[in-house]
Amino acid sequence: MHTFLYRTNSLLTFVASVLVVLCILASITDYFHRDSAVVAVDIVQVDRFQVSQAGNDEAFLAFNISADLRSVFTWNTKQLFVFLAVEYATPENAVNQVSVWDRIIERREDALIALPRVQNKYRLVDQGRNMRGRDLNLTMYWNAMPKSGRIYTGQKTLTGYRLPDTYS
């Protein structure tokens, strides 16, 4: 039976199926995208380094964050979730990653970050008291959330930082 409703139904299902294919194709183009991200992060100052009320080491740091992530945006990028993680290893914990700052970037133009002095947004707390004299890596992550398709992450690690040997 080839009624009006039948044809409308057939059209709508075909439209939906092809649309899903389009969304997947758009995501596949992301795979071929090459970015030229520029990231520079520095610890400007250790404001405070003490034992928290709960008995764990806690550091209050000021960072200089500057990054150009505009080239990371593709036509399929909905937003970039950018965050800075302080990473270190202790005898007890092989891996410690603490996100200390983040930002959501929705437009390509806004992906130019210039923060000469910003305090850590989230508390940098250890599990225990193992942070004195610890070597740190600072890694900038950018999580690309797409308009459709695959979610992927890029990162840039900067090494060579170190916490003071004593509390301040």
Binding site: T8, L11, F14, V15, V18, L22, L25, A26
Partner: protein, 100 residues
């Protein structure tokens, strides 16, 4: 719509949408605008709906040629007087054909 028209309708619908998808994808990719791809695609969908779904005259160019109507012979005129029983059994036969 006649049978040729139905086939034509399906073809118009599918081709229009695929073409709209391809053009939309390329245009969106080149201009780096996801939104443009969706706009072109939606345009294609509306066009396909307008051209392929309603029963336009160009879907009726290959009319089925029915055999000419024959006047009922005398046997059929006698049989048609017992209408109810005959019609009911015919309906039964038709619906079982339809189920296939």
């Amino acid at each position: 719509m006649d049978y040729e028209g139905q086939r034509l309708s399906e073809q118009i619908m599918q081709w229009l949408i695929i073409v709209a998808a391809v053009i939309g994808f390329l245009a969106g990719y080149i201009t780096s605008s996801y939104r443009l791809m969706l706009e072109i695609y939606t345009g294609g969908m509306v066009l396909a709906f307008l051209l392929a779904v309603p029963d336009w005259p160009y879907f009726n160019w290959h009319k089925l040629s029915w055999l000419p109507e024959q006047p009922p012979s005398e046997d059929e005129a006698a049989a048609s007087s017992s209408t109810l029983a005959v019609q009911k059994s015919k309906q039964g036969k038709r619906s079982s054909k339809g189920k296939r």
